[in-house]
Symmetry: C2
Subunit: 143 residues, 2 copies
Amino acid sequence: MAKALREPKDTSAQAIARLREAGLRPTRQRVELAGVLFQSGDRHVTAESLHDEVAQTGVKVSLATVYNTLHQFTEAGLLRQVIVDAARSYFDTNTGDHQHFFVEKEGLLIDIPGESIAVAGVPAPPAGLSVDRVDVVVRVRRN
Amino acid sequence: MAKALREPKDTSAQAIARLREAGLRPTRQRVELAGVLFQSGDRHVTAESLHDEVAQTGVKVSLATVYNTLHQFTEAGLLRQVIVDAARSYFDTNTGDHQHFFVEKEGLLIDIPGESIAVAGVPAPPAGLSVDRVDVVVRVRRN
DNA sequence: CTCACAGTTTAGAATGGTTCTAATTCGTTG
DNA sequence: CAACGAATTAGAACCATTCTAAACTGTGAG
Ligand SMILES: [Mn+2]
Ligand SMILES: [Mn+2]
Ligand SMILES: [Zn+2]
Ligand SMILES: [Zn+2]
């Protein structure tokens, strides 16, 4: 029965360590949000989905704080923003090199490992501009 | 001096033809918008930029009509929507296969010809999903 | 341990792009 | 030229996101 249960202390401890490393005060809200975001594998959330999810754990976090925290985490390099939909912003716990399938109707993002995909033939950008990153979005739909 | 001047009649005639082909009534507003959009080469506009531009020609078109028209043109295949910015929607008169550089700070889109760019290694989408299109956005910034 | 203070959270208002409503105007067809 | 359905429009509504300014809290100096 050792590993079967949740280990809230450990999750909190990890979250707190992560926040300290990022130079962010480990407040109750940030610890909770970090816990939800980072304790399972890679995740894609919107402010609203994260707000709803954290509400279900019983901890009250305002929507303003969810937005603040998502932006702070992004600035700290713990998250990255994914722009695929004109209507909502997604945030991704996978900050490594990778791309996405996007199922528009469901608002669902699915990772494509960075190693598996290659973009060739990108011309040099016009003078005075340099490449920041290359995003690939494979838009898919239900058959 | 034959080709140096604008040819408004011809532009209108072309716009009207284009609208009729698309099954859209050639109203004063749609003809004007089509003129602005399609008389020069490939263009990327937002509702607001198009609204401002058409205002400068002296023709009054409401913002609601600009939005209506952009969507109707998109549905008719005369335009395509480009999603690169969480804050604004762009519409592209180039409906062929191509990709984009995007200068976020300036809201500037630059075409990359479809032939020059190749995306390899896109995995098969998860069961039940099929690929609709593959979008590549090369995010660039001023040096 | 306590206190003070900067940092954080929050409710609610504000913002801004986009969409909707319902009344007016227009294009087309007979 | 009607007459009718389609299109336009002003302004309201919408909705994700951001802002404001007041209350709260983490922290570290004493
Ligand atoms: Mn919610
Ligand atoms: Mn304007
Ligand atoms: Zn991802
Ligand atoms: Zn383009």
